[in-house]
Amino acid sequence: MNGAAADMATGSSTGPLTPARAPVLAYPAALLAFTAIPMPVATGGSIVAGSSLLAAALLLIIPALGIPRPPALRLVLVGAVTIAAFLLILANLSPVEGKASLGYWLLLASAGVMAVQMMRGLAHRAGSGSLRARLISLSVPVVFGLWLLILWECIVRGAGVPTVLLPPPSDIAVRFASSLDILWADFRQTFLKAVIAGYVMGCGSGFLVALLVDRVPFLRRGLLPVGNMVSALPIIGIAPIMVMWFGFDWPSKAAVVVVMTFFPMLVNTVSGLSAAGGMERDLMRTYAATHAQSLVKLRLPAALPFIFNALKINSTLALIGAIVAEFFGTPIVGMGFRISTEVGRMNIGMVWAEITVAAIAGSLFYGIVAMIERAFTFWHPSYRH
């Protein structure tokens, strides 16, 4: 979005030093909104709906008129007005639901185009320098996610998509808020017990075996190919077997997670241990360093980027493994159990609430590992500054 279109916007008259980009997309947005004013919003829609949609359309036109203002202020104005327009559209959804007609879609398109324009402005001002630039760059994904949710809500409701196929986010949010106790119990069962235990055991044992493989040459030749074969085993195949071995409760799920996370850790650590350069190793040799000394002071630090890579891959693998493993027999609690049973009962809102929990937990897990990685591998060329 920031590429060719933006260049076209700034290209001709304004110099390269002018920070403000002409809000070119505001004009089609205004045109769409303007066209929407006389149109019916919904078949059988109320007067309230029609008039607020009219207000929304007018609101969308105002920032599009290109009133000269400081760029930051104009950005805030555009954002506020677009959000206000969206809220107005949302407020009138219930009479419109499933019966939206051309006016509604034109208005939605207009607001969507304004959203794109606002994202462009934000992304243009994002950076890593000042606090303001950093706040803005943090706000880009947040705003983007919000727009996605709003569009999802408007499209699903406007088109009257059956909730079994895709419920609107507001339904999911209501469901989420009303079943916090169930969600917490599932989260505790699946994430805090199976995922964490399996992750720690799988990554830990993968790391320790890698140290052993590094010390014993025949293991490198013998174990690694076998390891690759085991890591190619489908989780669907091993999960029922783990249930037979370790029972219905979380230990069998943790076992699946161990199997899934062990080999990525092993393979990455083994290649990481040979990542140190020849000169750096020779240096250790001139100091007559012992195996343990050169491991701790050279080869493990040099392997850290590889090890963290495995930790990050495994953070997502572990969650997937634990949830899928619960499809094959579990006590009546757990995220995978809930998903599989609520799908059977056509209770799709609950399924989406569980998916939300999984998405939040997975992203936080990954994010925490990535933050620890940055603290430990600050020296790596991809992070230094």
């Binding site: 020779d282 240096l283 040799r285 001139t286 100091y287 007559a288 002071k297 020296w379 060329p381």
Partner: protein, 278 residues
């Protein structure tokens, strides 16, 4: 080749006849690398004795085995045949006694350690107490003019400063013998001149024995008490030149007739050793 050290050599390896009295004694030493294209003879019939306090440069075109010879002295390569002693013991024992400091072509500083803790690295491995480590780090950072950069990371420093830090790291071990493998090869002319002068002062001050690999003629003549000219395929010693320049020389000595005459002789030696190639 009657006194060859083979892989079946006795537990007490034989020493070269000149082992006593020399810091490094090498007798009829050869080294053949087994490569995928067959054996490559890197060193052939090397004889060399280096006395305490000498500054010896190994000079020659690439492929003449000068770095390999230095690595044999440091026990980083094993000779195929011949005798070698370092400080009167085998290179392996000398390495275990930490009797030399080695400076590589690149600084090879560990990027996760600050400059000060990079210099402290060999001292940690030797198991020195913390106070002693701090003392030596401070002293050697002063010696190479890096005071004030203790808490910087290697990648925040220029190439010349990194190489100075790596010299400080080698000196921190306090060895009597310094092995340097083209330490200034990657630096620009001005930085190199400056570091050459500093190295010479350091050598004059500390009376260390230095073996220095280079392919720069002015650098070799300026720094050395003795220049070993080597020629390639197989790597062998072509000429050994005593320089006899005064110990407290400055960079301007490079304009004097004596200096130019020595440089001329080195160049002749390099050319003669090379001539059969074309």
């Amino acid at each position: 080749m009657s006194e060859q050290v083979t892989s079946q050599a006795a537990a007490r390896p034989q020493m070269p006849a000149s082992a006593t009295g020399s810091v490094i004694a090498i007798e009829d030493l050869s080294l053949t690398f087994q490569t995928a294209d067959g054996p490559v003879q890197a060193l052939s019939g090397i004889d060399l004795a280096i006395r305490r306090g000498e500054f010896v440069s190994l000079i020659g075109p690439s492929g003449c085995g000068k770095t390999t010879l230095l690595r044999v002295i440091a026990d980083l390569e094993q000779p195929t045949s011949g005798l070698i002693s370092v400080n009167g013991e085998t290179p392996d024992a000398a390495r275990r006694d930490r009797s030399y400091g080695y400076v590589f072509q690149a600084a090879a500083l560990y990027p996760w350690r600050t400059i000060a803790s990079n210099i402290a690295l060999p001292l940690e491995i030797m198991g020195l107490p913390k106070a002693e480590r701090a003392k030596r780090v401070k002293r050697n950072m002063e010696l190479v003019n890096l005071t004030g950069f203790e808490r910087k990371f290697p990648w925040q420093l220029s190439g010349g400063m990194q190489q100075r830090a790596s010299i400080a790291r080698a000196l921190a071990v306090e060895p009597d013998l310094l092995l340097m493998d083209e330490p200034f090869g990657a630096l620009d002319e001005i930085v190199r001149d400056h570091l050459n002068e500093q190295l010479l002062q350091l050598w004059a001050k500390t009376n260390k024995t230095i073996v220095f690999v280079t392919h720069s003629i002015p650098e070799a003549v300026f720094l050395s008490t003795r220049i070993v000219v080597m020629s390639p395929r197989p790597g062998r010693i072509y000429d050994v030149i005593e320089t006899g320049l005064p110990k407290d020389r400055g960079l301007d000595i490079r304009e004097t007739p004596e200096f130019l005459a020595l440089a001329h002789r080195v160049r002749e030696g390099l050319r003669a050793g090379h001539s059969y190639e074309d």
